[in-house]
Each structure stands twice: as structure tokens, then as C-alpha cells.
Amino acid sequence: MKASLFAKRGNPAGGNLFHYLLLLAVSVVMMTPFVWMVSTSLKQPADVFVFPPQLIPSPIRWANYAEVLETIPFHLFYGNSVYIALLVTVGTVLFSSMAGYSFARIPFWGRSLVFLMLLSTMMIPNEVIAIPMFLFMRELGWINTHLPLIILPIFGAGGVFGVFVMRQFFLGIPKELEEAAMIDGCSRLRIYSTIMLPLAKPAIATLIIFTFLTSWNDFFDPLIFINDRKLMTLPLGLSLFTDESGTSWHLLMSASVMATLPLLIVFFFAQKQFVEGVSMTGLKE
């Protein structure tokens, strides 16, 4: 696929220098903070302010990382972020694919009305309802628990987006597959779980990526619902650490490296899936 495209479109000579210069410039600007982050994370406190700046610190101070881990419960932040993002992803995939299948394939009473209602709320920023949500969660005694961070995204804008993506995908699956199964006496639940879901792997992959990233990066909700340090997610814990450590940049950068690296490693291995999944949602619109 790649090779054929390459051959067909070719590599026109004119204008390419500009393209490469632009790509190179943007890439360099984007990579600089990462290089600087890693470099600083290994510096001694005094070397952070040294001029001219050292790219490769001497001596290299690995102890920064240990120091961060002693200062803040980093492993807890990490664990909280991972398990919340996983649960949100599982819940979103399950409920969105169920609803998406029904909206695409089961002709039930009120279907178009309900779908339009869902769709029209997709653009509502969740900051708009944050205040009643806070009071509601306080009534339920869910402040300082992970429940709002798990349940709200599943049924909020993220979930509705999921319904939309899944419905679009199911609409494109040939009806004959389903009809054959129905003649064999399969129930809707069985058709959904044994025929439709396995077929929807590409759409599910896209949804997983989007949902996981959104939850992993969410900052506003944890800021509102969590005060207990042990319960904080990575972004919230890091922002608190920023306030506390002031300009201990070497420690802040060590913390940033630890927060970034695992996800980037996953990204490098799943790069193709990631980028193609993202593109797919754009085209499906």
C-alpha cells in the first residue's frame, strides 16, 4: 500500500525544500522540550542555572528520580490514573457499542429522536455542568472517591462520541450477515456479542485510544472531585507537586519524564493503530 502510493504520487522536485524545512523546523521545536526535560532531570540542582546550558549533564544525577519518588506518592498517582483510564475505557466501549449497534441496526420506537438528542449534546463542554455535578456527587458522598472520574466520562460527552463512532461503523457492515444469523434463530444479544463486536475491532480500537487518552489527560474533573493526595491522578498530583516544589526544576523534570515515558513507549509500538484510528474518526464524520 505504502509502496504503491509512493510510486503513484512520486516525489515532485519543486517546493520540496520548503516542505522539508518546515517539517524539520516544527519537529525540532517539538522535540526540544523533551530533550531539555530529560537533560534537566539528570542535573544537579546547581547545574540547572549554569550558563551556557549543558545538554549532557556532568555528573549525571540519577538520584533526582529517587528523590521525587520519596517526596510524592508517584506510584499511587500512576496506579490511580491507569486503573481509572482502564475502567472508563472498558465502560465506554461496552455501553457505546451496545447503544451504537442498536441505533444502527434495531428499528425500535423513538430511535431517531433519541439518537438526535444524544448527538446534539455531544458539543456541550462538561465544565458547564461541573457545578451541579459537584453538588450531586456531594449528596451521594462520592467526593474524594474515584467514582465520578470513572462514571461521568462513560455517560458524558466521551460516551456519546463513542455511540456516534460505533453507530457509523455498524451502519457500514452488510446486513446479510445479521439476517442469516436471525434466520438461524440468534437473539439480538447473541448477534451483537458474537457477530457485530468482533467485526467492529477497528472502530473499537479507535474508541479505546480516544477514551484512554482523554481520561489519562483529564485535569478539570480530578481537580474538582479529589482533594485527598493518595487518590489523585497523575496530572493532578503533578500540578500539586509543581506548586510545592516551586523552581526545583530538576525534580519537576524527573517527575515529568516518569509521567511521560511509559505512554510514549506504548505509542511507539502502537503508532500505526493510533494514528490510523484517529484519522478514521475524521473521515467517518
Binding site: V48, F51, V128, I129, L152, F155, L189, W216
Partner: protein
């Protein structure tokens, strides 16, 4: 069902009416099954979105302190907002951020996507690099850039010092703080729109370009007469997502400037958060939140209208 009917019934305004009527008699159990499948989502939607949305509207008409009784005060909050210099400043800052970020984001994303969509040598490599910030946590990204722009030890000012320039105190300068936030937000998110544009550009049939070239059309003409019209749906999608995203900007402001210096980067969501969860003025903050809601609503409606007129080849 004929192809034409399928297209019609699945067009934007009326998703399935026709299809539903045709198959309704097939299976009566479907009504129940259909509802059971959507039930969790619909229940969640009503309880966790619709009800709070109504509740927020109600709260915006009250004086609602953290403890003690809520009091209905009619349009008082909205009147206060309209007369509040801080609100207009915050709204202005939000629009400044959006007006700075959105065009830069769309143009840069398109400029990057054009070569990368052609599978030039190294396309995969550049695409990955430029997409990495999208994958990075916004809080981490903002912390690192806050450090990059730090006055003494920051990379930018160290770089300037090497060529003999004393750099300014970027994030502590009322004129410079917002541009810094805009540029770092641009770098964070441009990769997402770029990837969407790459996908759209690769869908444009190559024959169109060939035909135009045979007819002797120049580069610019081809771009504006073929490329742009062919990818208008994607341009609209990215435009809307970027505009609404920029109206909700919060994380980078919280981390990098806390709304300062002297309020020069205080944006709408930051103001809502501050009023609601620092000062506990729930009524007033709800009215502010509703202003945000109405702005997004108007934008969405405007988008639907414009789409009808401008977007080509929507199937």
C-alpha cells in the same frame, strides 16, 4: 432498499425514519431489545447530562452559597455579569486565545499535512514526531514549557543569551504571557488536526489532480480549486473541534500562569472554576457556565447552517 433511499434516509436531517417504517412489522420484539441496548447510555445521559444541565440553568437564577439556603434572584447574576468588568476582560482573553490559536492551528496543520499526505521520504518519521505532543499529558507539556520559558534558567532565554539578547520574563509579562500560552497550545495540538488532514487529503482522487494539471492549472489554483473544496468536511470538523476546544482552555492556564500576570490570561473556564470552587459562588459561577453553554450552542448552530451552504460532496 435502493441505494438512493439509503442515502436519503441516512442524510443529516432525518436519520432513519424511512428505514424504520419499512422494517417495523418484521419483528415486534425489536422495540424492547432496541431500548434495552440503549438503556444504560440513555439513563446515564438523562441523569448525568440533561438533569445537571437543567439544574445549572436553575442555579444560575439563584444566590447559592456553599452552606446555607439558596435564594432565587431572577436575572440578577446575569445582570451582574453584564456589568462586571472582570467578565468582559475574561471573555476578551478567551476570544484572544481562540483568535490566536484557531487560525494558526488550522493553517499549520494543513501546511504540514500537504507534504506528509504525499508519502514523501521520511513522512512516517515526521508524522510520528509531530504527533508525540498530542500523546503527552497536557499538564506535563505545560510544566515543561513553563520551564522552557522560565526567566533565568529557561532554555529560551539561555538561547537568547548566547546570541547576546536578554530575554524577557515571558510568563510574567502581561503582553507576552498569552502569546506564550497560545504557541505552546498550538504545538501541543497541531498534530491531531494534521493527522485528520492527512487522511482527508489522501482521499482526494488522484485523477482530479491529473486532469487539472493537463488543463494547465498552476499549483495555487489546484490547491484552492480542488484540494480545499474536496476536504471542506474535514476543515469544518477540525475548525469546530478547535474552536470549542479553545473556548474551554483551562489546564495550560492553570499550570503555566494561574490566570496571571494581573489577570491577563484569565479565561472563561478558569473564571468559572475560580468562582465556583475557590470562592464558592455557585449561583454566579453557574450563570458564567451558561454563558459558555450559549456560546457553544450558537457556534454549533452556526456550523450546521454554514455546512449546508458550503460543504461539498457530503454523502
Amino acid at each position: 432498499m435502493t441505494t438512493l433511499e439509503t442515502i436519503k434516509s441516512e442524510g443529516p436531517g432525518r436519520p432513519f425514519r424511512r428505514k424504520a417504517r419499512k422494517t417495523r412489522s418484521l419483528n415486534r420484539g425489536d422495540h424492547l431489545a432496541g431500548w434495552l441496548f440503549v438503556l444504560p447510555m440513555v439513563l446515564g445521559f438523562v441523569l448525568l447530562l440533561l438533569v445537571p444541565l437543567m439544574m445549572a440553568l436553575y442555579m444560575s437564577f439563584t444566590d447559592w452559597p456553599l452552606l446555607g439556603e439558596a435564594k432565587l434572584i431572577g436575572f440578577e447574576n446575569y445582570r451582574t455579569i453584564a456589568g462586571d468588568a472582570e467578565f468582559w476582560r475574561v471573555l476578551g482573553n478567551t476570544l484572544y486565545f481562540a483568535a490566536g490559536l484557531v487560525p494558526l492551528n488550522i493553517i499549520l496543520a494543513l501546511l504540514l499535512a500537504i507534504p506528509l499526505s504525499k508519502n514523501i521520504r521520511g513522512a512516517g518519521f515526521f508524522r510520528t514526531l509531530i504527533f508525540i505532543p498530542v500523546m503527552t499529558s497536557l499538564v506535563v507539556w505545560s510544566i515543561v514549557w513553563k520551564y522552557m520559558f522560565a526567566t533565568d534558567s529557561g532554555f529560551i532565554n539561555q538561547l537568547l543569551r548566547m546570541i547576546g539578547i536578554t530575554g524577557p520574563a515571558w510568563l510574567y509579562d502581561t503582553r507576552l504571557a498569552m502569546p506564550v500560552v497560545i504557541v505552546t497550545s498550538l504545538l501541543k495540538n497541531v498534530g491531531l488536526n494534521m493527522v485528520l488532514f492527512i487522511a482527508a487529503l489522501q482521499q482526494v482522487p488522484a485523477q482530479l489532480y491529473e486532469a487539472a494539471r493537463i488543463d494547465g492549472a498552476g499549483r495555487m489554483r489546484i490547491f484552492f480549486r480542488i484540494t480545499v473544496p474536496m476536504i471542506t468536511p474535514t476543515i469544518f470538523l477540525t475548525l469546530m473541534m478547535t474552536i470549542i476546544g479553545s473556548l474551554k482552555v483551562f489546564g495550560q492556564i492553570y499550570v503555566m500562569t494561574q490566570g496571571g500576570p494581573s489577570g491577563s490570561t484569565k479565561v472563561l473556564v478558569y473564571n468559572i472554576w475560580e468562582r465556583a470552587f475557590k470562592l464558592f459562588e455557585f449561583g454566579y459561577a453557574s450563570a458564567l457556565a451558561y454563558v459558555l453553554f450559549i456560546i457553544t450552542l450558537l457556534l454549533t448552530l452556526a456550523q450546521w447552517q454554514m455546512r449546508k451552504r458550503w460543504v461539498l460532496n457530503e454523502s
